[in-house]
Each structure stands twice: as structure tokens, then as C-alpha cells.
Assembly symmetry: C2
Homo-oligomer: 336 residues x 2
């Protein structure tokens, strides 16, 4: 019998379609990942091609002028920005019923490494840490702009995850509105605080650690698990154990530990599923609520092993063909 499960944080239901269930190892890609070159002459993110991107907003390098080689992490505005800093925040009525506004915001690319072929899963921990410090530094800079309400950091890895460039990179978008779906997430979490007096993510961590079957890893400051109402096989969340609303509040020390667990988690997926396509997103509180009790920042990884179809698009209900208890056990066994 299929089972409906509700995400305690968003109240979204997921269908666990046990009738069509697959075993965790069935999701492994059949072929070995194709090797990429370490440097590609026409890649805008490879060293030496700095002129192919807009001028950098941040780079970690030892000496040398901006927009030249020698960096190990580099941040640039997205050449094809979905949102741009100029423009007005006024909502305009167009043709009576229809409302539009300028696409105001900031859209940046974090180039994670000078090496074309070195994904996060295969980097040194130290390099992953530098990437996370770049996230943090850009967050802290952009939060000062009063036009921005929310900062979204995400990564698309692989063709099935919607990326068009192989060179490892993540993206950051600062938005002048809180997107509806994210507002619902905040509202549900605030409702939980109203009703139960606790942060729903703190509760999820506590319950998860008590039951343990969906936990993949636990360190001093972080917990990594496959959520109860996983929307897709191998969905993975990483949360700081201690309550912290905003990713922007992460300490340098915690960033070091976060880098270690992120790298380990991505390496496990790489190894267990043969370099799957995935998206990850850092969910964090709106800028004005960085010190509130209701939200708890976390990173969600969604491997793109199956294609959402009409039912998912139309209803928002995902159909998942793998139980998180089983996928979590599969990952635990890998590392054992």
C-alpha cells in the first residue's frame, strides 16, 4: 500500500510509492562518469579566461591584479543574470489585471575552483571551506543592500540538474521579494513556533536523532539525514544542530566543519550513485529575520535521478519511489 507522508516543516505531502519501489542501488548510474579535462580553452570559468566574465565581485588569490589568474575561488556577476541591481521596485499594473515589476536583484556565480574537472565531491576539504567562506562573505556584503529581502544560494550539478557549464560553480541570487513558496515555508515554521513554542527544525533534529534510522552522519555541530517526507530518492538535508536562523551567522569554525560534512556527503552520493546530477539549495531566514526563533538554516540536496512529471508539476505532490530509511542505510553502509 502506498503511503502519504507529510513534511512537518512545510506541511507538504509526498507519496511514497512502494508499489513501484526500487532498491537504493537501482538508482546508481550504469556508466562511469566521463572524465573532463583539467582546463578547457573556451570555458569562461577557467583561469586565463577571466575577461570572458563580468568583472569579479570577490576573489581569493595570492597577489596579482583583479580579473587575472592566480585565484582559487572567484565570484562574478552572472553574465545572463535573471535579476539585475538597477531598476525600480514599484509594482506596476500592466494591461489592467496583469502586474509586473523590474527584475531587480543580484545574480552571481561562485566559481569553486580553477580546475575545470574538480567537483565539490572530489575537492580537498580546505577548498570546499574556501567556497563556503565565499558564500558567507558575499551573503554578508549583499545583506547590507536595503533593497534585498532574501539571499538564495544554490548549485546545479550535471545536465539533468539544469546546468549548462561543466566547470564547478554555484550561484547566489538576492531578491527584492520573498518568493511565495519560501514565504509559505517561513509561515509554516512560524506557525509551529506559535503552536508548540519550538523551532520545527530543532524538533526534526531531535526526533531524527532519537529514531536514528534516517540519519546518515552526525558530527559535533551538524546532522545529515534523509528526511521523513523525502521528495526524491536520496534527498539529503544538512542542518546545524544548534539553532541558527541565518546562514550568514555561521562562524568561521562552523564553516570549516560544514565544509567537511558537505564534502563527505557529496562524495558519498558520488560514490554510491556514480556522480549523479543534483541541485542543492541553502534555505536561510529572510534578512530582516536573521535572529528570529522560527527558522533554522539548512542545506537541501536533491539528486535528479527521476524526472518530475505532470502530477508533480500540477499538484506539487512528489511521488518518491525509494524510502528514506532504506537510502540512508545504503549510504551508511557505503561509508562503513
Amino acid at each position: 500500500m502506498p503511503e502519504l507522508r507529510q513534511d512537518p516543516a512545510t506541511k507538504q505531502w509526498v507519496i511514497m510509492a512502494t508499489e513501484r519501489a526500487k532498491r537504493p542501488h537501482d538508482f546508481k548510474k550504469p556508466s562511469q562518469p566521463e572524465p573532463l579535462p583539467a582546463h578547457k580553452a573556451d570555458c569562461p570559468f577557467c583561469p586565463g579566461n577571466e575577461k570572458m566574465t563580468p568583472p569579479e565581485t570577490l576573489a581569493y588569490r595570492q597577489g596579482g591584479p583583479p580579473n587575472s589568474p592566480g585565484w582559487w575561488v572567484r565570484v562574478v556577476p552572472n553574465k545572463f543574470s535573471a535579476l539585475v541591481p538597477e531598476g525600480s521596485l514599484t509594482r506596476r499594473e500592466e494591461e489592467g489585471l496583469f502586474r509586473k515589476m523590474d527584475g531587480v536583484g543580484q545574480h552571481e556565480v561562485i566559481i569553486e575552483t580553477p580546475h575545470h574537472n574538480q567537483g565539490l565531491a572530489l575537492m580537498e576539504d580546505k577548498q570546499v571551506e574556501e567556497v563556503l567562506l565565499a558564500y558567507r562573505e558575499r551573503y554578508l556584503t549583499l545583506r547590507e543592500n536595503p533593497r534585498f529581502k532574501l539571499i538564495i544560494i544554490f548549485k546545479n550539478h550535471g545536465l539533468a540538474a539544469g546546468t549548462s557549464l561543466d566547470h564547478p560553480h554555484s550561484q547566489l541570487v538576492a531578491t527584492p521579494i520573498v518568493p511565495l513558496n519560501i514565504r509559505h515555508r517561513f509561515e509554516k515554521a512560524a506557525g509551529h513556533l506559535d503552536d508548540d513554542g519550538t523551532c520545527v527544525y530543532c524538533d526534526i533534529i531531535r526526533e531524527g536523532l532519537r529514531v536514528r534510522q534516517r540519519i546518515v552522519m552526525e558530527t559535533e555541530r551538524f546532522v545529515i539525514f534523509h528526511p521523513f517526507a523525502s521528495r526524491a530518492p536520496f534527498e539529503t538535508w544538512i542542518l546545524p544542530k544548534e539553532h541558527q536562523a541565518s546562514f550568514g551567522s555561521i562562524s568561521m569554525n562552523d564553516a570549516k566543519e560544514f565544509a567537511k560534512v558537505l564534502k563527505t556527503t557529496l562524495f558519498q552520493l558520488y560514490q554510491g550513485l556514480n556522480n549523479p546530477a543534483y541541485n542543492y539549495i541553502v534555505h536561510t531566514a529572510p534578512i530582516k529575520d536573521e535572529h528570529e526563533d522560527y527558522f533554522h538554516w539548512h542545506l537541501q540536496i536533491l539528486p535528479r535521478l527521476v524526472t518530475p512529471a505532470g502530477f508533480e508539476l500540477g499538484t506539487g505532490i512528489f511521488i518518491n519511489t525509494a524510502l528514506p530509511e532504506e537510502t540512508a542505510a545504503f549510504i551508511r553502509n557505503l561509508s562503513a
Copy 2:
């Protein structure tokens, strides 16, 4: 400058990324669609293989016993149902915080034709009409089950749209809950009725017909257009011009005209984009609200020409690289 547009019905924002805009013809698939055989020996939906599916719940055939060849439309329970009719509707607390319930519902497959290779876009109008009459008949039967709150009809065409079987088919799911995303859609529409005293979809039709630039086709009883806040290139909506909350209320006569416009619309996309993958979904009022004023049934077609990535998954905001005014003109020019 990119532009944010708001869907007046759902209040969802879409980013029109003009900086990375493509021309409508850029979305055309480069290759001709691969021909499929008219009959495939191991296809569970081909005539002669009726025993490979669960027993039919409806078939249009001239004589002959059930579950034998001779049908032209056939409806069967999904062999790998996401939801099943048995089970309890009680929500259970599992492990304290986590809530689950049995996957109660009904999940059926509408086999649209005995011919393995004859998609809706290439069928006779009459055959499309028979498919829509099968939708209607199953809707009217399943609505009588007091456990069901909503009936969702959808279609996945092509690999990129998440289908695993080539033989033309659509699906129907009756659910014991109203999915959160769909409830928001209903709530926003009800809010519009409260505020403005009108059905928001009637307003969209009126405004759309006044402005005309996004209209693809207009018939006596239907209007077909690319919506103002299209989430993807070539998103297409078909609405009955006269207010009607539920697809289940469609008359036999209107079904005939609906078949004609659906077929024409799909053929235009087939021709203009070289048989693109797409999903469509029939959005209809909850069963208990079939005669209310706030909702207006419609069919949404979402071609799957681009892959939603981390930003879309995380925020629910789609980034669209084609303006609906331009894609609508492209389709109008095709048929001219």
C-alpha cells in the same frame, strides 16, 4: 532588464529573463521525431496485450468481451498506482512529530488509442473527442466516491516529461486530500472573488481577448493563449470562455469543440517545435465546489524544453527565457 511578472490567478512571480532570451524558433528540436512502430509486441497498452494490465474500468469498443482487443479507448488502473482505493483516511502520528496516512485514492491510465505511434497531435479530431469523453465519464463515476476530494487528469508526453511508455496515454488520479499547491490556487481564486466579485479566470480571458497579443486561437466556446506570467517557453492554456468551475460539467457538445482545439494546439506545438516533450494537466474545482463561482476549469500545457534547476526547485519561481507575446505570435504565424 529582466522583468518579474505575477500570475493574477496564483500570485506566483515568474522571472522573464530577457538577457538570456531566445527566439521562439530556437526552441525547435533539431532532429525529426523518430518514428515508432504502429504495434509493439511487448507494449502493455497495445491491442492483444490486454492481460498485461489490470482489468479495465472503462473501454469504448464495438462488441466483444472486456479486456479483449477491439477497443478504441481503454481505461485501466495504473499497475504501479501511486494511490490505491483500499486503506484508511486517518492521519497517524508516527514517531511523534512525523505524520503519515495510507495512500488512498485511485490512479488510472487512459489508453488513448490502440495505435502505438499515434499521439494526440496526429489523431483525428473524433478520436481526441473519444479520449475526452473517457476523461469525463471516469470523472463522473469517481466523483461519486465520498472518499475523494479532487480528480486530477494529466498527461506526460516524451522522456523529458517523465513518461516511461511511448504508447499514447493520459492519467487520472483521485485524491483524498487537496494538495497544498492546488489549495493555494483555489484560495487565491476565492480571494479574488471576495475582493473583486469576479472569477479571476473570467477576468484573465476578458483582458486577454482585449489585448490579444498572447491569444493563439479563439473559437465559439474556447480561448487558447500563452499566459502573461508563462513559467516556461510555449506554456499554453485552454479555457472555456463561459464560466464553468468543473471539467465534470462539460457538455457533450463542448467536449467536441474542446477536442478540436486541444488537437489543433498540440499539432501546432508538434509542428512548430518538432514533437516536443510536454505535460498537460486539467485544473478543475474540488468535487464539493463543482458549482461555485470562484474557480474555472482549464487545461495547462507545459512544454519541457528547458530543465528547471536549483533556483526553481528552491524558490518556486520559474525563470522563463521566452516572452509569451513572442511565442504566441510564432504559433499564430505557423497556422497562418
